[in-house]
Subunit: 704 residues, 2 copies
């Protein structure tokens, strides 16, 4: 018999030719891992962890097989497994050993569990790797469009035993740490900054040269950075922050870098609001006030640092355990956070200082309360008006992987729009202004308890009924007024005003041009005069010193401007793809989560698609940030995607203007909506009484 | 005729077979560059700069051939060149053009010079590249052992024209800068930090998208760092600091990164002295005072920052133009500067926190007054007691390239010793203590005006004559006393005490054990009683309220301890190489520059070699720092050398103790020194009168 590859410690994977050739002459035990199905034969006595590693089975281990981290827990299965062609006897694994006994007494092992580094394969066996023992465990997002995040973060924990110093072979502690990481974990090269060096020696000695390090591998650099070091096995966890830095609000999601779980979320208002409500006012502030950009940079950095502390406190963790942050934001926020004067973004050609993704130490951004060596990653910007937030939406919603043609709309003060499928993705931004967020609306307010968020107008009586944030009942349901007595009815938020305008149209109280009819023309006293135009009265609490909530002609005009801009942007991308319709629409952002797709289509905000083809993606930008935080390959992926996206600049496209003007009307569309059949009998109306009202032909100033 | 490689714009190097094959069929002009001798044929009309680049001729250019930087000046030679087989006519180059004319009027071109980017090769020509037009110009050190530094610094200037932003193809300014650097200079990848990004856009626009950048290429990373950016062509120069950080003094050499010239040097006392005179007292300070290391780190960083400002001021340059620093220092200074508690260096096994070379941003070391993006490089440490300063000596003196066996001794409070040749280099440090620097000597003082630096004792009269710092005359020469009236005779510095002890021995006033004889035994009244022993009176100014300068028995003992430690270290390395003698001795350091080799050998500080084989290397550590600053390949070189050096730890070698004890005597050696023949007739003396004196057997506490 010739020497074979079986001799020595090499394993033979079951799907290799060699395996079949050797099968007859080997009696090595067969091990089958579930759920992966990976299988191979190993010499009796091979630890389960070793077999798993050689087969590429996803079995975690921080301590490298020393029986102290317990990450490599597995469950052997016994009995007949016809599917795998295996019968597993009770002695398939080596006996429960002292290390396992000690661990079980100290921490407790679940019934049936073994430590993969201790249990040895003695006979044929089927081994299940439970989800919590998988390194690349998958986290399913709780969103409408479930997307699976595979855990493969840039920063991970490694336990190593470092050689003690030797006078005869003098090497630095760092160099011996590097050697241990290389031999035990295959880490090629490491680097450490002075702050890490200053604690290295004490930590090594405190842990008797057994330490856990948090290593950050960039997807661009070769050398891994040592972000933190703890004596012995560190069991305090490791965290990252996914931060969605908006013009108005900042949201931070504290994410467990091992499990992918969001441990806490917190939000604050962007303190830059005091320099200007929208992006362009902030750019103007910087232009008018020398050093204004520096003030704004300082303000947002201070807020971020405080937010990091808050969210860590909420989760009950030490902020020093936060070792990574990922930012998504629009280009102006991006530049202001980085300390770049955004003035160039306020004028053609809207040049970004940098468009590629960037990484840096978090302390460069004055994030001083988290780990001093924490790293920061910014997703790439797509164009001067299409930021890292849109890139994050593209990462989360993946239009580049869509079989059908998807239109993805992230509505904020600017709308970012993506259109595409596997063949090609296009992107643009459109200056919708703040009307969709309830700003510049007479009774408008931010989405908060007391705000009308939904409204219906009866087509017969023309009376409204509505729902407010903080109460599940409609205003015509029993108990509504009692339940809302405390908050009161305070105003209309973004989703409410959209529904209101659409309902006015559906109820025949407004004509195609957007003009609200008078009480005489509409037959309802709720249409009240408001200067030279009319308003629709939703709620009047003036008798109780409360507010009087109406939809004015000005409100309708503001919504028309916003929806025309949004629609025109989408049309421009459709032109570029040479299509007249899209297969589905995804509404992203907090706003997108609350908007009624039906009303959005009646209004003409988005192109017509069957209602069941309109989905909400929730906070897709925030989700994109979380994906980039939890999966390093996603960074490479979105960088490539962004390079391949076709950028369309609305500001210089003459057709944008055409589409914008054409989109101003609110046509009485019912055909695609069986839900609206009940109103088809209503006569088409026109309330145009002369000069007031009319279409809006002037291009809005671009606003953030 | 077949198509040949000549078609198109390819050149054909003259040494290629293809060249000879094609020669017959081409009449392209031949160009010969001097001094390199590189030659090739190019189509008529090829600019000289283009030809130089294709042939790999070392011709500088910052602007990339735009006729604005003037770095590519060349001198055509005319006439017969039999050596090159060329006759050069007056029309060999294209005519003087408008660009050259404008440049000549504005800045002036030397007679006969042309701009290589403008002058085109029309006919056979010989082109001389003057030294100032060579990129890798060579700087010859003004030291005894001339070593040539080839200029190839890590940081260089690049002029580029960047594409203007385009709304239709949105890319960041940084990305377009990267594209320009790649296409014009072959730079693969760049990175920029937030501080650079914050000035990028304004600078690009100020320079109308023509900018000069200072790019730092690390010998380890791939991506080049943009350290600075200037509008248009930057002509203000670029500088680096080579810093020799000693326990007592800090010396900084401001070096022009283009020419390699030292523009200014400045030194300050190390402010850490207030925490302890020598290294071990500073380590103790840190051990005894929590936070003491932080205090010392802050002190040295502040001093370094102030020193950088001072040296820039002396050279009349803006400190912002300092973009690199290179540090050499002993391990304790190394750790304290980096912010690492040096406590581990004070006890076996003397573990370094890090031994490899390290690079970082200078601002990590609080060097805030130089360019905010300046980079810092530390040479590697060899062992716990053998620092980056010794590595710098190894780089400067290159024992690893020596054909003969060289012993290199850098004498400070610790002596660093290198022994080696091409085959192998060994290193150790030896705890000499501060006696060689004049400390712990009764009349000792630092080397300063008024200090006795040389002394001779007449073998007949036993009378001394001496020289003091600040006066070229000996004390028995006319005018000496007038010239030294102002400073006075204040004490003895290190080189003086060594000569004094050796001369006492040579004059027969001291025996082999180091004991000074009494006036009766020696026959001179200068041998005066001093407690139970005797001292030799050099100078007595007590009558004028001046000092009384003697060499006491205690002084002799201190010098014996120091020289024994030094010699024992050298012997230990010789044992390891299995040799009894060395071929040459190099004395490095300020001390080494002033010491008398003859007296050092009489004393037994260094092994015997012919006197002409003892050289002084001056400040070799500082030179090593300058080399690493001016030549990036030197960094790779010294890192490899240090890895290959055999480290010998004196503290744990039993033979060190043996050698130390054996080296205590001062034998009456004359044989190798014909200069000393005159004293061979003197009888061997012994002044041992019993218990006092004797050999020194106790190991000294290691001191820095």
């Amino acid at each position: 018999m010739q020497p074979s590859a079986r001799h020595g410690t090499h394993y033979v994977a079951e799907d290799s030719d060699l395996f079949w050739g050797l099968r007859a002459m080997t009696t090595d035990p067969l091990v089958v891992f579930t759920p992966s199905g990976k299988r191979g034969r190993f010499p009796a006595g091979t630890p389960v962890l070793t077999a798993a590693r050689q087969l590429g089975v996803d079995l975690d281990s921080v301590c490298g097989g020393r029986g102290i981290c317990s990450k490599c827990q597995i469950t052997p299965s016994y009995g007949e497994f016809p599917k795998h062609g295996v019968t597993v006897e009770q002695d398939a694994l080596s006996e429960w050993n002292a290390v396992e006994e000690r661990y079980d007494q100290k921490r407790g092992l679940k019934e049936g569990r073994r430590l993969g580094c201790q249990a040895k394969i003695m006979h044929d066996v089927v081994i299940d790797v439970p989800p919590e023992s998988q390194v690349h465990r998958q986290v399913v997002r709780k969103a409408a469009t479930a997307r699976v995040i595979e855990m493969d973060p840039a920063t991970r924990l490694y336990f190593v035993e470092v050689d003690e110093p030797d006078m005869h072979e003098p090497t630095g502690d760092l160099e011996r740490l590097a050697r241990a990481l290389k031999s035990e974990w295959g880490v090629e090269a490491i680097r450490a900054d002075t702050t890490l060096l200053s604690k290295l020696q004490k930590t090594l000695r405190k842990g008797k040269f057994r330490v856990t390090v948090a290593l950050h591998k960039s997807h661009k650099d070769d050398a891994a950075r040592v972000l933190e070091i703890w004596p012995d096995l560190h069991e305090g966890g490791l965290y990252g922050l996914a931060i969605d830095l908006g013009s108005t609000t900042i949201a931070a999601h504290l994410t467990d870098l091992v499990t992918g779980d969001v441990k806490a979320s917190a939000g604050v208002m962007n303190p830059q609001i005091r320099f200007g409500e929208d992006l362009m006012s902030r750019v103007s502030y910087s232009m008018m006030n020398p050093g204004g950009d520096v003030e704004m940079t300082r303000a947002v950095r201070e807020a971020l640092d405080a937010l990091a502390v808050d969210v860590a406190e909420e989760a009950g963790i030490d902020p020093q355990l936060i070792v990574e942050t990922v930012f998504v934001c629009n280009p102006v926020m991006h530049h202001l956070l980085l300390g770049i004067d955004p003035v160039e973004l306020g004028q053609a050609p809207f040049a970004l200082a940098t468009s590629d993704s960037i990484s840096m130490d978090a302390r460069e951004l004055d994030l001083v309360s988290i780990n001093p060596r924490a790293r920061t990653y910014f997703l790439p910007c797509i164009a001067g008006h299409v930021g890292a937030d849109c890139a994050a939406v593209a990462l989360s919603e993946a239009p580049d992987k869509s079989d059908d043609l998807a239109l993805i709309v992230d509505v904020g003060t600017n709308a970012e729009i993506l259109l595409g499928d596997r063949s090609r993705v296009l992107a643009c931004s459109s200056p919708t202004g703040p009307a969709f967020e309830g700003a510049q609306i007479s009774s408008g307010q931010r989405a908060a308890p007391g705000a009308i968020e939904a409204i219906r107008i009866d087509v017969e009586t023309r009376e409204p009924r509505f729902r407010v944030i903080g109460c599940d009942k409609w205003s015509d349901e029993e108990g509504f007024w009692e339940e809302t007595a405390q908050t009161g009815i305070t105003g209309i938020c973004g989703s409410g005003i959209i529904e209101a305008v659409a309902e006015l149209r559906l109820a025949g109280l407004m004509d195609e041009s957007g003009l609200i009819g008078s009480a005489e023309r509409t037959g309802t006293a709720r249409c009240v005069p408001e200067g030279r135009t009319h308003a629709y009265l939703i709620h009047d609490a003036t008798a109780d010193s409360g507010p009087r909530i109406t939809v004015t002609q000005g409100d309708v005009r503001a919504i028309q401007l916003a929806k025309s801009a949004l629609y025109a942007g989408a049309r421009l991308l459709m032109d570029a793809r040479n299509v007249d319709k899209v297969d589905r629409v995804v509404l992203a952002g907090a706003f997108g989560a609350h908007i009624s797709p039906l009303h959005a289509m009646v209004l003409g905000m988005i192109p017509d698609v069957p209602l069941d083809k309109v989905t909400s993606a929730g906070n897709a930008a925030g989700t994109g940030a979380r994906i980039a935080l939890c999966n390093i390959a996603a960074r490479t992926e979105i960088e490539r995607t962004v390079r391949e996206i076709t950028k369309v600049e609305t500001a210089i496209e003459p057709k944008f203007q055409e589409h914008f003007v054409a989109a101003n009307a609110i046509p009485h569309k019912t055909a695609p909506f069986p839900e609206l059949r009940k109103v088809v009998t209503l006569p088409e109306v026109s309330f145009n009484a002369g000069s007031q009202g009319g279409t809006v032909g002037r291009r809005r100033r671009r606003r953030g």
